[in-house]
Point group: C2
Chain length 334, copies 2
């Protein structure tokens, strides 16, 4: 059923687009398609940009694309942000037209629907990113809202995570508490000319310092660490930089790109058996499985869920008994 | 292994706390515990409060608890918000001490760890809510950040969802676009004395109107609707109210409570076979299954994920092949 993939199908944007649509629409075909893809060329890298709605992810992404293109890097974009203006075409907001980026054959933008819902699932995201790599795009930018199930999950597909903040969003410290510190490799405060930007910059820097001290403390004095286990150098010595940018005015963007490339080099320089090198793959495996389960529950098993819910509602079944039944059905589908 | 549950284990807060800990820690025992619980008394209701970090969820919740207690309603609280001050004791912020609520034997507060991460899973949340109901708590308040995988998922456990905004969070319109309109049954703007509150109130009201018009339009003119299928009245005629409050000053809170009770009455008045009546149960079934899968990936299968990731990293396996292997393992565990 599935035509063999040749390089033409990847090289031509229209065929590539069709291939991605098949990947997304038909999970059965996806496996066959993926099995036929060439291995991605070495040295590709995935950069995720996450942040609350309105912090300027698309604008920063547009600026990064422009810079990568100046270096002749083909750039693939996977956008999984229901609030993203990417699909609308006004990627850099009102001020800057992105015609040059969107008309550029070295840029391939794919917007993945999350069905307009905070809890939408995007099981195709992993396959899309992998296919873009196989097609020769050397940098894959992944845009996700840092909020919502989808947003968090999709960031699992990135090697380097840029956590973007803006003083106007006002959720900086709260997000830091909520665990964004553990997710980000690079922290960026956008709209650095606005009031509150400096304070936000300081707060992020301080939170990072504290979390690193705590981590070092755990490493050296933690109950699990015996004398022999204490290494000479910290196991993970990437210190996430905190940068200030004005993406709209293209200020500070070069530093963000440099930090992303540094992080890539740092990863590549780790010992081959270092778990951090394969963290993205480990997370991606989890992402694919979780997405499949969500998809099964929302599509194939939707009727069954309704039927069981009705029986629980009528007190014919306890909730845990319905869970048992559903578990059996899900097992068949996995 | 599991001692029979008698009513004492539910009536006494200390025993109840221990029971909940066992539910959370040992999913194997949970099934046995749940099977022994008495059916919850009729008329219980679950109210979820969701919103970005810092909008004032805990403060509003504290105010709602106070009011329910004046009506002598025992209130159970399930808090799944890593940024919540609930666990810290300062539930109403700096100004108001919540000593009276926390010392009240008619209030049981359970804070569920989400492991301090945006993507933490809380497989026990459903069992905890069900057990609190069985223990006789007539209103269950569920607090979640509207952001992060956990936040979205846990709101599936509520019958009535209050979506809370504050002009300072600045993400109102963006969140509306991101699908919060579909989740909320009651919309509340907190900190209504602050600048921007009125504008936010208007924006939410307008967005709701538009989404209702669109829904009505789909209903009456949608391609799927034949003449015969058009019902006399809209299928779902709950019009989510938009309310302004100042939770800190206890202003407008009575109206929020009244709206929650109205929504409960509206649900109870729907025809017995109306899908909306069992929506919470259907969502809860999905929540429990998804949580189990996440837990299996993070605990039981963690070593296996690492091992497969290493093989993908060393190019011994393609990612989709590793997914296939992991799928088989997961099937065994479900």
């Amino acid at each position: 059923m599935c035509a063999a993939i040749n390089n033409d199908a990847l090289a031509d944007p229209v065929s590539l687009g069709r291939l991605l649509t098949r990947l997304e629409d038909d999970p059965g075909a996806a496996r066959e398609i993926l099995a036929q893809l060439p291995a991605p060329p070495p040295g590709t890298h995935r950069i995720g940009i996450t942040g609350s709605p309105g912090v300027g992810k698309s604008t920063l992404m547009g600026r990064l694309i422009q810079r990568y293109r100046r270096n002749d890097f083909p750039v693939g974009v996977v956008a999984v942000d229901p609030t993203s203006p990417l699909t609308g075409g006004a990627i850099l907001g009102d001020r800057i037209r992105l015609g040059d980026v969107q008309a550029d054959p070295g840029v391939f933008i794919r917007s993945l629907g999350s069905r307009g819902s905070l809890g939408g699932v995007t099981p195709g995201a992993s396959a899309v990113a992998g296919t873009l790599e196989a097609a020769g795009y050397r940098r894959i930018l992944i845009e996700t809202v840092g909020v919502g199930q989808t947003g968090y999950d999709v960031i699992c597909l990135a090697d380097t995570v840029i956590a973007l903040f803006s003083p106007e969003a006002g959720d900086g410290v709260q997000l830091l508490k909520a665990g964004i510190l553990e997710i980000g490799d690079i922290f960026v405060v956008n709209k650095s000319d606005r009031p509150g930007a400096e304070l936000m910059f300081k707060e992020i820097s301080q939170s990072l310092e504290i979390s690193q001290l705590t981590a070092a403390d755990r490493l050296h004095h933690g109950p699990a660490a015996s004398e022999e286990q204490v290494p000479d150098a910290p196991v993970d010595c990437w210190h996430p930089p905190v940068l200030a940018v004005s993406a709209r005015d293209d200020e500070g963007v070069a530093e963000v790109l440099a930090a992303a490339e540094s992080h890539r080099d740092w990863l590549a320089g780790l010992p081959a058996d270092h778990p951090r090198r394969r963290r993205r793959i480990a997370r991606e495996l989890g992402f694919v499985l979780r997405s499949r389960v969500s998809r099964a529950l929302e599509l194939e098993l939707a009727g069954r869920v309704e039927q069981l819910a009705a029986r629980v509602y009528q007190e014919e079944l306890a909730l845990w008994e319905a869970v048992d039944e559903l578990r059996r059905d899900l097992r068949e589908l996995l």
